[in-house]
Symmetry: C4
Subunit: 217 residues, 4 copies
């Protein structure tokens, strides 16, 4: 099981495999989404992240970019990191145990993120539901249990989404949030752990589409 | 066609293949579900079961644990059997002809298990439906036929689910039940037979979602 | 492109491949459905058909049975043809150009076959719809076009379904019908042709589930 | 990344791979749809297009036909181009940067194309929606953004569809349109680019089925 990666080649290999998996499931259609893992050894978060605008089903090592503080001011000559790197950076900053961050676009989680709410404010909402055993995979469940999944607003300026993440995510947060109309982001202590969270939220979202009565306070 | 397994390596191989199949179909998302087969030669049920908390798409022989009476009191050093082993044990005890028990989490069967009912008691309910030829695959069908699929309550203490299984399952039961919000459990006289029951209930559940008028007395 | 098969080994190979394909798509779940191709050279229809009660994803040549007139009275020692062979035989009898008959169980076509109708009689119904370009793949379409897909009653005694087929299918029929609660049957002048019809009806059924307003006179 | 193809063999290889991909996803069922790429070096558009009436999952180089102005009057001896070549030709004529045109039949885009509208005229409609980040993959998105996807009428005489394309598509158009009851057509500056547009519209269509409130002015 991987933690932060000391070997860049191995990190790349795992991101490539993960991209292939999610693409094959239709969870990274078009060139949507981005994937990263933390690189070991730095005080400030450094991570390897997928390049902007590429099909995620056929990534090569050359399609991954190393980023850290100040990445947005670097003049990249060829491979440019995704603008959504703001989101990845914020999670690595706030959650010391997060070693992998996966942002995917699935139909089910996009639909879940769009459920009507009071449109007035652009604050973080909590989507509450109960009664689904698979919530356990996110680290929460009791017999009378309730899960609270955050839904962040979708700002055109992605750095603002990063700010929202900084404000709302802590070490103890559920390792997942939605962005309205903009898919799912999960993290984990390893690649396997983050994938588990992605699969869990996708399953829960599909169940909630079929059983909306599980939602609400 | 397999019965109880005399060869542990072959038993492991079949469980590994079964895990890969269900995971690839999205029926064991995250690390949900568990699979077991009966080991031959013991008076008391002994069986090989998947370890707790692992992705089911990439199991190895080292991820399977041998269990029998008193398994819950054993101090496992590494691989710990799933807490849901209570369910497997109860089925092997009650159904002498059961040589494989598969517990999966599918969206369709989870939704079927959540259909509203009188929430007051936590007893076993019967979900009745008719008109679907594929019920035959579960061993029941007549022209005017009706299928009755049990739905068990989902206790946080899994040993209580085991007790419910002991109370409600007999040799003549339909080889399948749902647990509310918690997927599908099937058994069979062989791996192939149990898989047939899993596939049949999944298909029936998908049909019932589209044609709820087939349900009810 | 195959017509009637002169080479039994090649016929078997194609049925095996077809079974693998449909099983992988979830169109022959559990052990549902059966597949056949016509064997060349006989005046009376002779055909190779899948054996009863087997998983269709892993057929071997030994799981195929040769049938012809009087097949139901033969004392088969090992491989027994499916009871649904009545349906295959009736189609080969009525449609001289049919060289392949595929009977599958898909969720979409099962749901389509279950649409409410006047339950009083057990006659053949016609399911009418219009507006879908893919109807062309069944050999029917005009700008104002309408497709009429027969739905046969599902008799417990399959030989009665065979009788209904004899009464309602002709050389000029749409090469497909549904049986209520019991999936889809298609035929074609070759394996490829019959597969085309299966795929077309599956697609049309999925569209009709989403757009029921296309149905009706 | 491919532009117009100078090497016919490479062009063929890419079309074959693309057909296999879409067929495996159920986006070219039966023998529906057709695929083309532009051939380099000609003033008038010349392109390689899939032959009429073939399964798209197992194309060979011999199933591709070279077409250009006047293609509809050529007496093809064996491989005949699809009648829908009218649509491909019109796009290559109108959009100089289009080097690949893909016409597929998916359930989601067919359903989207069928949404009720004023049935009186047969003009091009615009299907408006907003709030889905993946619209970006089509080259349009703002925070308050709206996407307008054209829906063309489905004429039995395909050359009339070609005329509608000539009238409504420009260099600046969204690189995608629907034909009522008749699937999705996308183009791109390369095979990868056109595939990105196909995947994007498919995803958007699936989201819109689940969240129809995103549509409308």
């Amino acid at each position: 099981v991987s933690g932060a990666f000391t070997d860049r080649a191995e990190a790349a290999e795992q991101l490539i495999a993960e991209g292939r998996l999610y693409y094959s499931r239709g969870w990274m259609p078009a060139t949507a989404g981005n994937l990263s893992v933390r690189l070991a050894g730095a005080e400030q978060p450094r991570f390897l992240v997928t390049q902007s605008g590429l099909h995620k089903g056929s990534l090569g090592p050359e399609h991954l970019v190393e980023c850290g503080p100040g990445w947005s001011k670097v003049e990249y000559t060829s491979a440019r990191p995704s603008a959504e790197t703001w989101i990845h950076e914020a999670i690595y900053e706030r959650v010391a145990w997060a070693n992998a961050v996966f942002h995917v676009h699935t139909v089910e989680t996009t639909l879940l993120s769009l459920l009507p709410h009071d449109g007035a404010d652009k604050g973080v909402r909590l989507l509450r539901f109960r009664g689904l055993e698979l919530s356990k995979a996110l680290g929460v469940w009791t017999e009378s249990g309730e899960t609270c999944l955050p839904v962040l607003p979708n700002w055109a300026d992605v750095s603002q989404i990063g700010e929202d993440v900084r404000r709302s995510v802590t070490e103890d947060s559920l390792p997942a949030f939605l962005i309205a109309g903009h898919g799912l982001t999960c993290w984990g202590k390893s690649v396997e752990d983050a994938r588990r969270h992605v699969e869990a939220v996708e399953f829960l979202a599909a169940c909630l589409r079929g059983a909306p009565e599980l939602m609400g306070g």
